[in-house]
Amino acid sequence: MSSPEQWTHPEPDAAPAATAAKPTAEQVIAGLRATDEGGADLVQLLTPEGERVSHPDFDIDITAEELRGLYRDMVLIRRVDREANALQRKGQLGIWVPLLGQEAAQIGAGRAMRETDMAFPSYREHGIAWTRGIKPTDLLGIFRGTDMGSWDPVEKRFHPYTIVIGNQVLNAAGYAMGQKFDGKVGDDEGEATMCFFGDGATSQGDVHEGFVWAAVYDAPLVFFCQNNQWAISEPTERQSRLPLYQRARGYGFPGIRVDGNDVLATLAVTKWALDECRHGNGPILIEAFTYRMDAHTTSDDPSRYRLSDELEMWKLKDPIERVKVYLVRQQWADSEFFEGVEAEADALGEELREFCTNMPDPPAERIFSNVYAEGNPNLEAQRDEFLDYVSGFAGGEH
């Protein structure tokens, strides 16, 4: 097959992009303000400096153990992300979609879910996958081209990655309607659904229709929009005049903006939203205000469209660092703990590399399998003819 590199570097002969994009001073200012400031409505419980702050509506009691768990989740999933990114660079994956910078948004949201809840991801939700008990190795096939995700979506209550922007929002609305029709909504034992999408996705008709459906059917659905400030090369300003959480206003359900780099705030807000949904008060929109620290995918070159200053600024808001500072300051974790997590991360990285480089290519007949649940004689004939042809070929014929 054509090598993944071709995909990664669309123009093999081209010189590297000359310089970083150079917007006007005005644009810089606008750009920096837009991505940096979450605004007055931003829900935050742990500042970038690791200070615990309180919030009138959303607060959370967290134990040392729980917070250590969240820290560990974030470190491990970041390591998975960096390893996979490196595996792509080595030609072991065709492409990778980095989550770097969005660990708190995903771990916070994911850990707010119960096992009985259901999740519909987009394609960058490696952190959510982790919280649903999906092995990181189960993600690799998608990006290596051996499968389209190998977990069981029903068992894990984690839908396949959806690549067509917005599609999964309607699918999630339908699922949540089903939860309600099944009588699983109305008390604390209720079920709920979460749906993940990006800032760019909010422009798609399907996302709107998902809002309409969920509102009209009172579906137990939490819309979780990770506003990472960019849709590939387009800043959020190209999708909306208003902060995205305010979109909910027009539909008659709550919209909340949370600091998506604050795992505590994200956990608190998402838990609340899920609880509202289980009790029958859905849907709810959460905008997690965060930042895509890496390229859109390994095929992307962000230097063409954004300034490194922006990145530098967001580094100060790192989702993991602030938790570490807080854990240390509270004396909730010692260096042994941190080293232990590092060691776990190393082992996980090793496992990932090992697994990836040994992944077998799928057999050719896989092309034809599972197109239909109940078969298709014409396709079976096509398959048989092809396999005959291939085996004739192998036998040295032709």
Binding site: H159, T162, N171, A172, G174, G205, E209, W213, Y372
Partner: protein
């Protein structure tokens, strides 16, 4: 079939097992039987509740099964299909009504990208037992977008199954078989024939869903049609018989997968084939049939496969549809050309 295969005759059959019904009434009874047999079967669409659908195919169902099983949805087809996907994942068997053929396109993306692919994507872990009902075709004097024949788009889409019924008995049984099927089925209903009548035996399934059927044996040439054009083809065969020409008429019933074995068999005998369809011909199901038959029956064909179809234009204003739609004369003209080849 994975769905519970209850004995429906007991639950749904009216007093006498054989009744004379219109296609529309047969569909209505078929839907009712499917809802009675399996509580997971739900209906979704615009105006299908109190109104019973603009063609009344779901008449009375909301009254009897409630608003949670017969959903008057918001007005958006992507929403109908997209939420049906989620409901199917949750274990429901949604039957979506698209109000008219021309309004399926806002839902096209969900059909092509999700409905058709989720089973493949998940290597069979997610099934998509969704039926999308589409009243299709022209001949009813309607305004634009209400008379189209979009079935070829779906036949070209791997992962979908596509069928069309042409008579009340098939309408009654095929809709139930489609709902039982664990694959997504586009179910095309010949709207201009909704009020044609025929006998329906509600006690015995007359055959399988994905099979074509020879409706009238003949020896001189073969006609293949589906949906509304089956009637036209049978009429043509009747007229031809009066002139001493014996036409075999095959109702395709299944448009994807095509079941062409009966067609091959027939063409090997007659040596001549005319495919009749309302849809524009370019890159269509009719093209596929011609392509397959010329390959399978290469030495048997005494004339090329001919197609009598709608023209490769948008559907015209309805005062012109009589000219646009294949009719008995155009079919016979093609038969004549084939016989004279």
């Amino acid at each position: 079939m994975a769905a519970p295969t209850m004995d429906r005759s007991a639950a749904a059959a009216p007093a006498s097992p054989v009744q004379t019904l219109t296609i529309s009434k047969a569909l209505n009874l078929g839907l009712r039987a499917a809802m009675e047999a399996n509580p997971k079967v739900i209906m979704m669409g615009e105006d299908i509740g109190k109104l019973g659908g603009v063609f009344r195919i779901t008449d009375g169902l909301q009254k009897d099964f409630g608003e949670q099983r017969v959903l008057d949805t918001p007005l958006a087809e992507s929403g109908i299909i997209g939420t049906a996907v989620g409901l199917a994942i949750r274990g429901y068997r949604p039957v979506c009504e698209i109000q008219f053929d021309g309004f399926i396109f806002p839902g096209f993306d969900q059909i092509v990208s999700q409905v058709a692919k989720l089973h493949y994507r998940t290597q069979g872990k997610i099934k998509m037992p969704i039926v999308i009902r589409v009243p299709f075709g022209g001949g009813i004097g309607a305004v634009e977008h209400h008379s189209e024949s979009p079935e070829s788009y779906f036949a070209h889409t791997a992962g979908l199954k596509v069928v069309s019924c042409s008579n009340p008995s098939d309408a009654y049984w095929m809709i139930q078989q489609a709902i039982d099927c664990d694959d997504p089925v586009l179910f095309f209903e010949p709207k201009r024939r909704y009020y044609e009548k025929g006998e329906v035996d509600t006690t015995a399934q007359p055959g399988k869903l994905f099979e074509s059927r020879v409706l009238r044996p003949g020896t001189d040439a073969t006609l293949v049609a589906y949906g509304p054009m089956v009637r036209t083809s049978l009429d043509a065969a009747n007229a031809a018989a009066e002139d001493g020409t014996s036409l075999e008429v095959i109702d395709l019933r299944t448009l994807s997968p095509l079941d062409l074995a009966p067609v091959f068999e027939s063409v090997r005998r007659t040596g001549r084939l005319v495919v009749v369809s309302e849809a524009p011909s370019e890159s269509s199901i009719a093209s596929e049939i011609a392509a397959k038959v010329q390959q399978e029956c290469f030495y048997s064909l005494q004339a090329p496969v001919l197609r009598v179809t709608g023209f490769d234009t948008p559907y015209p204003p309805s005062k012109l549809e009589e000219e646009f739609l294949p009719d008995l004369d155009r079919v016979l003209h093609a038969v004549d050309r084939s016989l004279a080849w």
